[in-house]
Homo-oligomer: 395 residues x 3
Amino acid sequence: MSAVPPKLEGTAYGRGPQHPNDLLTRVGPGTPCGEFLRRYWQPVLAGHSVTTRPREVRILGEDLIIFRDRKGRPGLLYPRCMHRGTSLFWGRVEDEGIRCCYHGWLFGVDGQCLEQPCEPNKGVNLASARQPWYPLEERYGLVWAYMGPPDKMPVLRRFDCMEPLEDGETYVANDASIGSHGDPNGPDVVPYSWLHMNDNIMDPFHVQVLHSTFSVTHFVREFEVMPTVKFEDIDAGVIYKAYRKLDDGREVDRVSTWMIPNIMSVPNVQLVHGRSNGLGFSVPVDDTHSRILFCSRQAVGEDRRRGTGLSNLKPWSEMSIEERQDRPGDYEAQAGQGPISLHSEEHLVTSDRGIAMQRRMLEREIRKVMDGGDPLGVAFGADEMVRVPSGNFFR
Amino acid sequence: MSAVPPKLEGTAYGRGPQHPNDLLTRVGPGTPCGEFLRRYWQPVLAGHSVTTRPREVRILGEDLIIFRDRKGRPGLLYPRCMHRGTSLFWGRVEDEGIRCCYHGWLFGVDGQCLEQPCEPNKGVNLASARQPWYPLEERYGLVWAYMGPPDKMPVLRRFDCMEPLEDGETYVANDASIGSHGDPNGPDVVPYSWLHMNDNIMDPFHVQVLHSTFSVTHFVREFEVMPTVKFEDIDAGVIYKAYRKLDDGREVDRVSTWMIPNIMSVPNVQLVHGRSNGLGFSVPVDDTHSRILFCSRQAVGEDRRRGTGLSNLKPWSEMSIEERQDRPGDYEAQAGQGPISLHSEEHLVTSDRGIAMQRRMLEREIRKVMDGGDPLGVAFGADEMVRVPSGNFFR
Amino acid sequence: MSAVPPKLEGTAYGRGPQHPNDLLTRVGPGTPCGEFLRRYWQPVLAGHSVTTRPREVRILGEDLIIFRDRKGRPGLLYPRCMHRGTSLFWGRVEDEGIRCCYHGWLFGVDGQCLEQPCEPNKGVNLASARQPWYPLEERYGLVWAYMGPPDKMPVLRRFDCMEPLEDGETYVANDASIGSHGDPNGPDVVPYSWLHMNDNIMDPFHVQVLHSTFSVTHFVREFEVMPTVKFEDIDAGVIYKAYRKLDDGREVDRVSTWMIPNIMSVPNVQLVHGRSNGLGFSVPVDDTHSRILFCSRQAVGEDRRRGTGLSNLKPWSEMSIEERQDRPGDYEAQAGQGPISLHSEEHLVTSDRGIAMQRRMLEREIRKVMDGGDPLGVAFGADEMVRVPSGNFFR
C-alpha cells in the first residue's frame, strides 16, 4: 500500500457532527434565550398590518392571533379558543373583541371572555373565563408585545434617534423582512435564526465584499473601500466605527449600533451625512425563522425603497436561482448559513470581533436571567430614553 | 419595580404544554382506540369508488390497496407484494384478482396467491402463499371492512333507518367528506382527527351559531332559534332532542343520534318532518386525518346536494381564505381545532353535555376491549337490526 | 360466538412492524454500509454536469458543492464556508477556485484557503486554513470521488468493456437516472434506496414480466420468452447467464454482470450480438434516494435514447398516474418498494437467487470493512483492469 498522498489532507471524511450554539438560538418558552428575549418588548408587526381581519402570527415559537377590534385596540391572543379549541383565526372581530365561529364565545383584547351565547344567561362564571393573551403597545408605527413573566414587565423604551418627529416627518414601519432581500414582494419571514441578522449588524466587512465587490453595488460605490474598523462596547450594546478615506479625498466615519437584545441601528446606506433616524429588529419567529422589522422617521411621501439602494435592480422575488448566484445579497449569505448556523465549525477571525463581542454580551445577559436577575436594557417604572450613536459622519 | 398591573392576569406566559386525549385519538394498530374501532365493520369507500383501477386507501393508520376484480368482487390488500415488496397500486386487475407488475404474482381478493409465473410450474407452495388482506362486505352503497382480530368478527349490523328501500328509492353513498365542507370538489379526506366530527354530532348548539347566526345560513333560518336541549343515553349511543318554538308558532323536536363507535344519524337539515333516512360515519384515516362517509335512501334522480343546503353558495374549494373567514363552516371550525384537539385545555360547559356523554361511553368501551371484553354494539351470529330514533318531529 | 370462518386466515391484522436490512441500506458517515461504499471511488456526476456554476450535490448522505474552476479542474467541497458557514453554492468560481459571497474567502479545488480579503494582508495563517473537500478524478465521461479514509484511497479501476475507445467512438455519460425511467426529462434522482436498482440488476426474470408481458414492450419482443438462468459468483461480483430459445430457432445467452459494490453492466437491451460496452452505477444519494449513472462507448453522433428502447413511447414525465399504472416500468416497480424496502417481509424464491448471492457478498464485504479489512475490488498502487463478461451471445 502506498503512503498517504499529501494532497489528501483535510478531506471531509470523518469530521463528526457539528452543532449550533443552543444558548443563543433556542427561543421557545422555557429556553434560556427565549426567556431572556421575553424580558423585552418585542415588535410583532407594523401597526398597519394589524386590522379587523384576524391574522396568524408566530413569534418566539408561539402561534398567536393578532387583530384590531372595531374600536381600534390591537389584541394578541392564544389562537385556540379556550372553550373547545377552534382557532380564533376563523373568528369575527366586533366592537369589543373577537368572537369564535364555533359556539360564539366573545373575547376582549385582554382575553376577558365577555359572552358565551349557548350557555344559560349567555355565560356561566364569565368573570373567571379568560383566553390566554399578551399585552400590546403601539409606538413608532410598530405594535410591540410583552411576552414575559407578568411581574417583570418593563417599560417600553424610547430611542433618541426616533423622536421627536420633526416638521413634515412621519413614522414609517416595515415588517416584511425587507432588510434581508430588499423586495416588498419578498418573503415577510426569512427561513433562518434571528442570530444570523443579529450577527450581520456588527459585521462592517461584508459590506465591502457581499454588497460591493462580490455582487453588484447594493448601496453606493464608496463601500468598495475596505474600512478601518474599531469596535466598542456601549452600555447595553456594541458599536463599530468604520473609517474610510475615499478616492476623492473625503474621510468618513460610519457608526453602526447594536443594542441588546436584537436591536439594530444602521446609518443611512446612501452614506448621507448625519445621525441615523431608524431602528431595525431581528425578531425570532421560531428557532429557524425570523422577521426583520424596521421603523424610521421619514418625510411624508418619501419613497421607502430609496433607503434600500436596490431600486434599480430586478426585485429579489423575480430573480432565478442563477441570477441570485450571480448577485447574492444578505438573504443568500444568511439563508446560506442554514436554518441555524453550526457555530461549532466557525472560524472567527479579527474582522469578526464585533460579532464575538455581541455574542459574549448576549451570553452573559442570558445567564443573568437564568440566575434570576434582570438583564441589561430593561427598565421599570420611569420612562427611559436610549441614546443611539449611529450615523455617517464626514470629517 | 412597580407592582404587577392587574391587567396582566391570565397572559399566555408559562402555560406549559397541552395534550390530546390519546385514549380517544390514537387509532393505529395496537392502540387502545385503534383496537376498539377495529372490532366494528368500518365503511372504507362508496361502492362506486371501488373499480378495476387499483386505488390507495389509508384507514385506521394502515395503508392498503382497494380494487374490484373483473368478476365484481371488491378486495382490500396490504399494498406491498409479499414477494419483493412492490406496491400492488402498480398491479393489474384481472378476472381472479390483482397481478403485481414486477414479477407477475397473482392474488385473489382474499389474498390467496394464485400464480408465480417466474417460478417452476408457475408457483412453488402456492397454497401457503397469501398476501395480507381484510374481508369486505357491501351494503347501503358502501364497502365495509373488518380489520379486527379474526376470531372476533361480528356481523355487519343493519339499521332501521336504511331499510327497506321504498318504491322508487335507491341507496346513495358519498365518501368524500362532503359533510365537512359541502363541496363535491372539496378534499375527500379532512386533516383532523375522527373525534372532531364525532364530537360535532352531539353538539346541537353550534347549529345556532356556526351554521346560522355567525356565518351565512347554511341550512334553514329556523336554526337561528336557540334550542332547548335534552341529552339521553341509548343502548349503544347518545341522542339529543332539541326543542324549538318557531316564530310562526310551530314547535319541533329535532332528534339526532350518535351510535358507538363513530356512527351519526343527523335528521334532514332542511327540517323536513319525519324520520331520518341516512347514516354518517367519521372514519379515521390516521391519527390526524379522517374521512366522512354518508349513505342514504333517496328517490332515484334526487339531487344529492340538496341535502347539504349549500347549493346556493360559492363552493368551498373556490373560496379564498378571507371568504372562508367571512363564512366559516364545519371544516373551518373542526380543522381550526388542529390535527388533534388539545383536550387538556378544553373548558366543557353545560351545552357540551352530549359530547361529554359520548366520550365517557367511548372511554368505557375502549377500556372494556383493553380488558378482553366485547364492546357495545358488536353482535355475533344472528343478524341484528339497530333502531335509529333520529328525525324532525313537528308537534 | 361462531368459530373462525376459514376465509379469515392470513388477514393483515396484528402483523407487527416490518423493517429493512439496515446493514445494506444505511449509507451515511459511520454506518457499516456507508463506510464500505466509501472505500471505492464513486461516480458523482457526468463530466458535462460539472461547470463553473456551483451546484449542490448529495451523495452518501453528505451535502456537497461541486464545480469546475476556470482552469477546468473539478472540485468537491463541503458546502458551509469554514469561516462563518455560508453555503459556497452562492460563491463565485474563479481561475483558482471558488470564492464565498459573504466575506470573500477563496478556496482551491483541494480546499486550500487562498485568500481572506477582510483580514490583514488578505489572510492570517492561510496555510492552515482548509475547507473540507474530497478528491475527484475524471474517467469515461464521469467525475468520480473518493470519500473514504485518506490512508485507504485505492486506485480508480479500469474496466475492459470501456477501453480502448475504437475509431469513431466517444464516451457518453448520463447522470440523470435514465436507467430508471428512460426519460431525459425525468427526475435525475430517484426516491428509493440504492439497493433497489442494485437488486434489479441480478433479476433476469422481471425482464420477461415487467418489461415485456405485463407492460408494453420496453425493449424487444424476444424478452417475452421466459429464460433459463444460471447465476455464478465471479471474483468480485455475480453474473447471470440467461438462455433463450427464440421462436425463430435462434438461441442466445445473455450475460449480465454485477460488480461490487454497486456496478452494473447490462448487455445491449436491443439484444444486439456481442460484448457490452457500458457500465451503470446505483449510487446512494442518501438512505432513501439514489442516482443511476451510466457511461458507455458510443459512435460519435449515435442517438443516446436508442439504447433504452423507449424512443417510441410517451415520455415518463408526461404520463399520468393512470398511464403509469397501465404500463409501469423500473421506476414504478422500484419506487413501489418504498423509500427503503422492508426486507423482513420479503419472500425470496428460486428466481431471486442472484439477488440473494449479491446481498450475501455485500454483507460479507461490509463485515470485512467493519473488522478493519480491505473489501473485494479495491486495489492500491498498481493500475487495475477489471474484466467484465457481459454481452449477448448468439450460438
